[in-house]
């Protein structure tokens, strides 16, 4: 058998002699998908390896303990114990505030909302924060110094050496940040980072009541102590005090999981590109096999069995699949070097790209396998070519010799089943679990199936178009789309999918941005002040009135936690937090949800806001507590679901150490997208009026300059008060979206390139028939211009079908994403879609005309010669 297979392989090799270039071209459509997978998998492996190597620097310590309030005494006692055992400990306090360039007395240069990180001496214990000029980090603790993001210097028009005011304290800007381990590049989009020494936090007087800050303790442990054992031993203490802990292993685990998820998502796009390439291969192979009918008939005449014929062509497909996959691996390794530029701002580690064997070998295997699988259908279809074909065959060139229906051919049905099983197996192998893998396979099949269906519908519509009384060249071009062996479906599928991905992306982006912009337009307010202390509320009010600016809202904010609650909701899972305690974290399963553990910033008022709607129960009409002594509250619908509370249930709150018992008397729907303070829980005024609180103020300043001056003056007078300019939020979201869509667009590019390659190989596959026909038309009197117009019509139509199919699906996909993920109303962005459509058409026409250029070169004499 070995010898026979060897002989068949030699025959297969000789058989491809005249068509090798064209076949390699069609196999290169596999290469792009393989390249995408190899690039994504290799890059993920690079990142995971880097995370492992740098995990300690990412955390900056062996153990981190943090809370949204100063660490409570029992935790401090625990830290003391660790210190006594030889551990080193330092503090980091993180909060947002307004930074003022220059000094308050000097009038200041400008203001900007920043993220302050106040670092204790020695922090971070691991990893190096790089600065420009170099080495400035070690000088930070030497005095009232600050190291800032360079974007802050640009925003404040300041330089290294200038003064920066944070609250009531002043800092000298020592330098700018170049690299902070563990920070993703996109972090600065939400506000530039400012590092200061922790011991000057008090001097800023910024952390007043109700201010949001994160208090963290970084611990470096001696070799004798194990961070994971420590957190395990103190788990209950931490949970009961709402303190978070993180070890190096936790950091590595959670980052690795995120990277793997990102890799899986991007890999999905690569897998789809590979399968689209596979459909291109099937299509090209079908055209190729139709040319091979005579050769097969001759082989059959000479005694070859059907199985031998199949072997010959399967070996050809395997060889070509291997060639395509090899090319893919080479391209993928190249793309692996590009990915850091595309994804770098989401990745918290410095990545050293390295050749990764496992992704490369699995890409090679997968590409070859896909080549064989997709070739099987067309190859099995011709195994029954009768030897009689040598003597008699249809001369129209369109016959593939395939038996009429694959449904009656067990071998081809089996090949189809193996194909489907392989897709499912690959998805399961790439997913966490069989269920996720099955969902992925279903998703991929649904996406490809929907594009295929859209392509079919559009192609059928085009067929009808060809019957209309157009000019001949147009009609003929349209009819060409429907030409036997033209691979319209494969081309449209690949092109349509690219347009689908790009279109969906464009729609999501424009809808989200539009939503924010329309929020800005519709909102009465465009500037908000937070952390306004009780004694600052009236002066700020006067300051706004003095400038004839409206105070659109003055909202009290009271921080609190859930101390306990009862739930009468049927089938609600048993909560350890119920009955007067929010603690009780034992295992992950029993861990109370975030909704129970989080800190709430609630408000009180006695009327419903315009952005709210009661969906259950009713708003209170009495000012005081009920007979039971419980105050009435209104809970946001989603939160009520998370907590499992219904109207009538009671919740006890811990408001700065004071317990307040409340009863849920209504559930509200809240339009969160509005630019105004919205709350999960609203209390009766009487419940919280005397509680420690801060205020948020809303106003509207139409002039950009006046808005900036107001922010600057407010910071000068109330240095602890933060203000947010709505246009800044728009900018930040736009920046993040642009980064995300760059990454997705990069992956979508693989599908688009696959589409182009399928198109080129489709044109190459039908080249003989195309040249023959255009030469014949020239013989019958067609000019070059007429031939070009026919080809132009054909490719423009192919591009149009592809883009219409893609855009129809993109509209569906965009709607689903906007509706289900972003939960905002959907609107079509005609300009973006038109751009995607135009680009798809242009690409198709340009590729088509370029690939078909030798059609023009042939002289009409060829028609006479070809018999």
């Amino acid at each position: 058998m070995t010898l026979r297979i060897g002989a068949l392989a030699a025959l297969a090799w000789r058989d491809t002699r005249t068509t090798r270039r064209r076949l390699v071209l069609s196999m290169s459509s596999i290469a792009i998908g393989v390249a995408a997978l190899v690039a994504v998998d290799s890059y993920s492996a690079d990142v995971v390896r880097s995370i492992h190597a740098q995990a300690r620097s990412l955390l900056g310590a062996d153990l981190s303990v943090s809370a949204h309030r100063p660490l409570p005494a029992p935790v401090l006692a625990m830290l003391d114990t660790l210190r006594a055992k030889g551990a080193a400990e330092t503090r980091v306090t993180t909060f947002s505030t307004m930074a003022l360039g220059g000094t308050i007395e000097g009038g200041g240069k400008g203001t900007k909302l920043v993220q302050v990180r106040a670092m204790g001496a020695g922090a971070p214990y691991y990893g190096v924060i790089e600065t420009s000029p170099a080495g400035r980090w070690s000088e930070l603790q030497g005095g009232e110094n600050a190291i800032v993001d360079s974007s802050l210097l640009i925003a404040l028009n300041a330089n290294v050496g200038d003064t920066l005011s944070l609250g009531y304290a002043r800092f000298a800007i020592l330098g700018t940040l170049r690299n902070v381990p563990g920070d993703v590049g996109i972090a600065a989009a939400l506000g530039p980072r400012v590092y200061i020494p922790d011991r000057y936090v008090g001097a800023t007087q910024l952390l007043g009541f109700g201010s949001r800050a994160d208090y963290e303790s970084l611990v470096r442990l001696p070799a004798t102590l194990d961070a994971d054992a420590i957190t395990k031993a103190h788990r209950e203490l931490f949970d009961s005090l709402q303190v978070r802990s993180q070890t190096v292993a936790d950091t590595e685990r959670s980052l690795t999981r995120s990277i793997e998820q990102l890799g899986r998502f991007l890999g999905l796009v690569g897998l789809i590109a590979l399968l689209l390439g596979g459909t291109g291969v099937a299509s090209a192979l079908r055209a190729y096999m139709s040319e091979k009918i005579d050769a097969i008939a001759v082989l059959r005449c000479l005694g070859a069995s059907g199985a031998q014929v199949v072997w010959i062509f399967v070996m050809e497909a395997a060889g070509l699949g291997l060639a395509g996959a090899t090319l893919g691996v080479v391209l993928g390794v190249g793309a692996q070097l590009v990915l850091p530029h595309v994804l770098g701002s989401f990745i918290p580690v410095d990545v050293e790209p390295r050749f990764e064997w496992i992704p490369a070998l699995s890409g090679l295997a997968l590409g070859t396998w896909v080549g064989i699988l997709f070739a099987l259908g067309p190859v099995l279809g011709v195994r029954k070519v009768a030897p009689l074909q040598v003597l008699r065959r249809d001369d129209d060139g369109s016959s593939t010799g395939e038996s009429r229906s694959m449904w009656r051919d067990p071998a081809r049905l089996a090949a189809g089943a193996v194909l489907i099983a392989s897709i499912v197996a690959v998805c399961i192998a790439r997913a966490d679990s069989a269920i996720v893998g099955l969902w992925m396979a279903t998703g991929i099949s649904a996406a490809i199936g929907a594009t295929w269906l859209a392509a079919m519908v559009c192609a059928r519509a085009a067929r009808r178009l060809a019957r209309l009384p157009w000019r001949f060249v147009v009609r003929h071009g349209i009819a060409n789309v429907d030409r036997p062996g033209n691979q319209t479906r494969a081309v449209v599928l690949a092109l349509g999918f690219g347009a689908f991905l790009l279109g969906t992306l464009a729609l999501v982006q424009s809808n989200v941005l539009q939503q924010i912009a329309s929020t800005a337009d519709a909102s009465a307010a465009n500037i908000a002040f937070f952390d306004v202390q009780v004694d600052q509320a009236n002066p700020l009010d006067s300051m706004l009135h003095a400038r004839t600016l409206p105070v659109l809202a003055r909202v009290p904010i009271v921080p609190m936690r859930i101390a306990g609650y009862t739930s009468r909701k049927p089938k609600a899972p048993e909560r350890p937090a119920a009955h007067d305690s929010a603690q009780g974290r034992g295992t992950d399963r029993a861990r109370p949800s975030w909704a129970v553990r989080r800190e709430y910033r609630s408000s009180y008022r006695d009327s419903l806001a315009s952005s709210e709607k009661i969906v259950a129960g009713k708003w209170w009409t009495t000012p005081g507590p009920d007979a039971d002594g419980a105050f009435e509250i209104s809970v946001e619908k989603g939160l009520a679901e998370d907590l499992g509370v219904l109207v009538g249930d009671t919740i006890t709150w811990d408001v700065q150490g004071v317990r307040i018992r409340t009863r849920v008397t209504s559930l509200r729907e809240v339009q969160w997208a509005r630019f105004e303070p919205n709350f999960f829980v609203i209390f009766q005024s009487a419940a919280l009026r005397e509680a420690p609180q801060s205020f948020a103020f809303l106003s509207r300043v139409n002039d950009d300059g006046a808005r900036a001056r107001l922010q600057r003056d407010a910071v000068q007078r109330f240095p602890n008060v933060s203000s947010i300019d709505l246009s800044l939020i728009e900018n930040a979201v736009a920046k993040i979206l642009a980064r995300v869509s760059l990454a997705v667009r990069f992956m979508a590019l693989f599908s688009v390139v696959t589409g182009v390659l399928v198109l080129v190989s489709a044109i190459a596959a039908s080249r003989r028939q195309r040249v023959r026909e255009s030469v014949l038309l020239k013989t019958l009197g067609a000019t070059r211009a007429q031939i070009i117009r026919m080809l132009f019509t054909e490719y423009a139509l192919l591009g149009a079908i592809g883009s219409v199919a893609g855009i129809l699906l993109a509209t569906g996909g965009g709607w689903a994403a906007v509706h289900f993920i972003f939960k905002t109303p959907f609107s079509i962005a005609p300009l973006s879609l038109a751009l995607v459509a135009a680009a798809t058409m242009l690409l198709t026409v340009a590729t088509g005309l370029f690939a078909a250029r030798d059609v023009f070169a042939e002289t009409p004499m060829a028609a006479l010669r070809e018999v």
């Binding site: 249809d394 001369d395 129209d396 060139g397 369109s398 000019r471 001949f472 060249v473 009609r475 003929h476 009819a479 060409n480 429907d482 030409r483 036997p484 026909e773 014949l776 038309l777 020239k778 013989t779 019958l780 009197g781 067609a782 000019t783 070059r784 211009a785 007429q786 002289t859 009409p860 004499m861 028609a863 006479l864 010669r865 070809e866 018999v867």
Partner: protein
């Protein structure tokens, strides 16, 4: 009037030059029925290609109605073919994606002639295929396909019709019917017909026979009436 003057055609082959036609000259009167015969490789098809302007000679010239084809661009030659020349091929050369009627219309469609539909129908009736107008080539027999090709060749009322082995792929009886059809159209439409064939029985039906051998005319005789 179709005139060939000192036609020579050479091809480079490796480092040598092969001359396929050598100083061929003749003229064919309007409405004549001429057969060009000769063994394989004698240059028949090359000569036909040059006469129809499908290829350009290495030396010499071809005149159709006094117009020198060498002086025309490729597109101008294509337009001239569209107006004055018809073709019938051995392998029919129908466009597989078009129906019989659509195939016949092509030369007129390319000119934007509004009468294409009625004229094509008339021609299909003449060749006996009025009931097969909407059939695709693959659904027609070889003889029927060749009749569609003849209808197409005559649809633009050409001054000259070139036929390259028009019966080569047909059985004897079908071939005879095809030749009779060509004769009938030649007679009725006064179209000059030039047939290339190695079928001497077919050649004998022509009014004039030009015999080629090794790229040169070795015999040029008119059949006795």
């Amino acid at each position: 009037m179709l005139v060939a003057r000192d036609l020579t055609k050479s091809f480079p082959s490796g480092d040598r030059t092969i001359t396929v036609l050598r100083d061929v000259s003749f003229s064919i009167a309007d409405g004549d029925f001429v057969a060009i015969v000769g063994p394989s490789g004698s240059g028949k098809t090359t000569l036909l290609g040059l006469l129809a302007g499908l290829d350009t000679p290495s030396a010499g010239s071809v005149l159709i109605d006094g117009v020198d084809l060498a002086a025309l661009s490729e597109d101008a030659r294509a337009r001239l073919r569209g107006e004055k020349v018809g073709f019938v091929f051995q392998s029919f050369q129908l466009i597989p994606t078009l129906t019989a009627l659509e195939n016949v219309r092509v030369p007129l469609d390319l000119r934007g002639d509004a009468s294409a539909e009625s004229r094509a129908m008339e021609l299909l009736r003449r060749v006996g295929l009025a009931d097969r107008t909407h059939h695709y080539p693959v659904r027609l027999s070889g003889g029927e396909q060749q009749r569609v090709a003849i209808a197409r060749a005559f649809v633009n009322s050409p001054r000259v019709l070139f036929a390259d082995e028009p019966t080569g792929n047909l059985d004897h009886d079908t071939g005879v019917r095809i030749v009779e059809l060509l004769e009938e159209l030649n007679r009725d439409a006064k179209t000059t017909v030039v047939i290339v064939t190695h079928d001497l029985e077919l050649a004998a039906r022509a009014r004039r026979m030009i015999r080629l051998s090794d790229g040169a005319i070795v015999e040029d005789r008119v059949r006795a009436a």
